[in-house]
């Protein structure tokens, strides 16, 4: 048989389809399925390329919401690292287009030396790499009721490996004055969004980050540099960072007074609620998928802004009894942690729940427990209730905000 005639038409069509797909961003599964229904062992495949792509069969993207947010599709992901292009977004005035080469970070205020750093300057300091989640504190919007998938329940959380310079190193370089106790971090977006940060956190594990999952920070996550405060509410991790001012008091700006504060049932308004509390969610089985009776693993992610996850308990009987799930190691501090529990579904209706416990002993609360100190109006911040999935007799799954 003449092998050369088999190769040419198939490759041309595949190349055409691939370039069409990359320009439209749509996965055209059917034509290539037809193409690949021809035996792939009988013809040369795709050649090497400069930028990898997902399989055209894979449709995975984040979900835009409210115009200023896009949600990570937690129900479609495996492992713990969130691919950089699926990291959730939350902006206050859109993504600014910044020039990394000309960008400067100004460090001034109560310091011995007021300094300005280029990104190249920052990369001359020792690089620190660590993985951790970022989560918006307003991360509970099951707006589709019982048809809310995991991305609606808590899709504003993502896990990355971050690389940058320790803020403590920069503060040491500038020389912090004894009267200093706070730091204002300010970004270059159209809201010039800023937050006041206690100096203790700045000197602890704060990083000025320039890389995300091995490559330069994405614009949606703050290119060319952002502040990273592991475990602290997303808003404090200021993106498109342009200025750090060392101060002797918080500025009490809008983002830490009018916003990101919680009215409490005891008549106070809670401010500077920096830490993201422990939380978990079952990502499989979950709406909108259906299951059949038999064995499977219940799996999900758990995390805490206060440190490591110590354990995750799962209930397969609507909360009557709980079992310890296995945790996928290595268990990292302030990081999404995978948990799993083998489960045999007997085809009867039930509810699956998970609850996280962190190394400080804090246990993820039920909504009723949250409602003892904060009411339904206290939101949208720091709502981390135990949530679950109702499994119907026909294998359909519905969100269950119980616990």
């Amino acid at each position: 048989m003449d092998k050369s005639f088999q190769n040419k038409p198939t490759l041309n069509r595949r190349q055409l389809l691939r370039s069409a797909m990359s320009s439209t961003g749509i996965a055209l599964a059917t034509p290539l399925a037809q193409a690949s229904s021809l035996d792939p062992t009988k013809q040369q495949g795709e050649s090497a390329s400069s930028l990898g792509a997902r399989s055209p069969e894979i449709e995975i993207n984040r979900k835009p919401a409210f115009g200023v947010v896009s949600l990570t599709p937690l129900e479609q992901l495996h492992g713990t690292i969130t691919p950089a292009d699926l990291h959730f977004e939350r902006h206050h005035a859109g993504i600014p287009a910044l020039n990394g080469e000309h960008h400067e970070l100004v460090l001034h205020g109560l310091v011995e030396r007021q300094l300005s750093f280029s990104v190249a300057d920052l990369q001359r300091f020792p690089a620190v790499t660590r993985s951790c989640f970022i989560e918006c504190s307003g991360n509970y919007f099951p707006q589709a009721g019982d048809r809310s998938p995991p991305h609606m329940i808590c899709g504003m959380t993502s896990q990355s490996e971050w690389t940058g310079v320790s803020l403590a190193t920069l503060l040491r370089e500038a020389g912090v004055k004894p009267s200093a106790s706070w730091l204002l971090a300010e970004g270059s977006d159209a809201a010039i969004m800023a937050r006041s940060i206690p100096l203790a956190k700045a000197l602890d594990d704060a990083l000025i980050v320039y890389a995300q999952n091995g490559e330069p920070l994405r614009p949606a996550q703050g290119y060319p540099i952002r502040l990273l405060l592991p475990g602290w509410e997303g808003n404090t991790n200021v993106k498109w960072l342009r200025r750090l001012e060392v101060l002797d008091a918080p500025t009490m700006n809008r983002q830490e007074t009018s916003k990101y504060t919680e009215p409490m049932l005891d008549g106070t308004i809670r401010q500077f609620s920096f830490e993201i509390e422990a939380r978990s969610i079952i990502t499989s089985p979950a709406y909108p998928y259906t299951i059949a009776p038999g064995w499977r693993e219940i799996r999900g992610i758990a995390w805490s802004g206060r440190g490591k996850i110590k354990g995750v308990e799962v209930s397969t009987d609507g909360g009557k009894s709980w079992q310890n799930a296995s945790l996928q190691g290595p268990i990292l501090s302030k990081s999404h942690t995978r948990f799993g529990l083998p489960w045999h579904w007997d085809g009867q209706p039930t509810t699956l729940l998970s609850r996280a416990i962190d190394e400080t002993g804090y246990t993820q609360p039920t909504l009723a427990e949250i409602y003892k100190t904060r009411g339904p109006g206290s939101g949208p911040y720091h709502f981390n209730p135990i949530t679950g999935w109702d499994i119907h007799k026909d294998g359909e799954i519905r969100f269950s905000p119980t616990g």
Binding site: A93, S116, M193, T251, R254, S258, M264, F272, R374
Partner: protein, 183 residues
């Protein structure tokens, strides 16, 4: 021996502690440029509650009404009420417990903002939405004053400036507490 075993964790803490750096790191890296005063002046825009950072200038409530009606009302509603981004004025009294029960209890400047300076700071940074940073210092004082007036916090003949703005009493201030550990 016991003293030594106590000393080791202390030494580890010291070595990993913030104020001590690794042995091969220089005391000063000499990386970065000194910041120019002009460069700083352009971006050092934050305002503290005691008034530090407020620029020169002043604005009357009456002037602020004109700015508000032309540049703000479209999004924030006539008289600061009923706009698509929530009401800025016309809220009930400070009542965090009622707010905690019911999200529809509007959080306005008058019943939720603890400092008037924050208003100046925010408008200067981010407003108007389609032209942020376009208002002059005088205009900022004026429109900030008008919003405070709409909330019943200053009189219609008030002039806001670096000396008067920090002194505006804000009803919500004493209700703010720093977070502890609650569920």
């Amino acid at each position: 021996m016991k003293a030594f075993s106590l000393l080791v964790p202390a030494l580890v803490t010291l070595i990993l502690g913030v104020s001590v750096f690794a042995a091969d790191e220089p005391a000063r890296w000499l990386i970065g440029q000194p910041v120019g005063a002009q460069q700083l002046q352009k971006i050092d825009i934050d305002v503290l509650p005691d008034g530090r950072g407020l620029p020169e200038g002043q604005g009357a409530v009456t002037e602020g009404r004109v700015i508000y009606d032309t540049q703000c009302a479209a999004c924030h509603g006539a008289d600061g009420i009923g706009g698509s981004y929530g009401s800025l004025a016309g809220g009930g009294p400070v009542d965090p417990a009622a707010m905690a029960e019911d999200r529809s209890y509007q959080r306005t400047i008058g019943n939720y903002w603890p400092y008037a300076t924050s208003l100046f700071d925010y408008i200067r940074r981010a407003m108007p939405y389609n032209k942020p940073g376009s208002l002059s210092s005088d205009e900022l004082y004026a429109v900030t004053g008008y919003l405070l007036f709409l909330n019943g916090l200053i009189s219609a003949d008030s002039i806001m400036s670096a000396s008067t703005l920090p002194d505006v009493a804000m009803p919500a201030r004493d209700y703010f507490t720093t977070a502890g550990s609650t569920p």
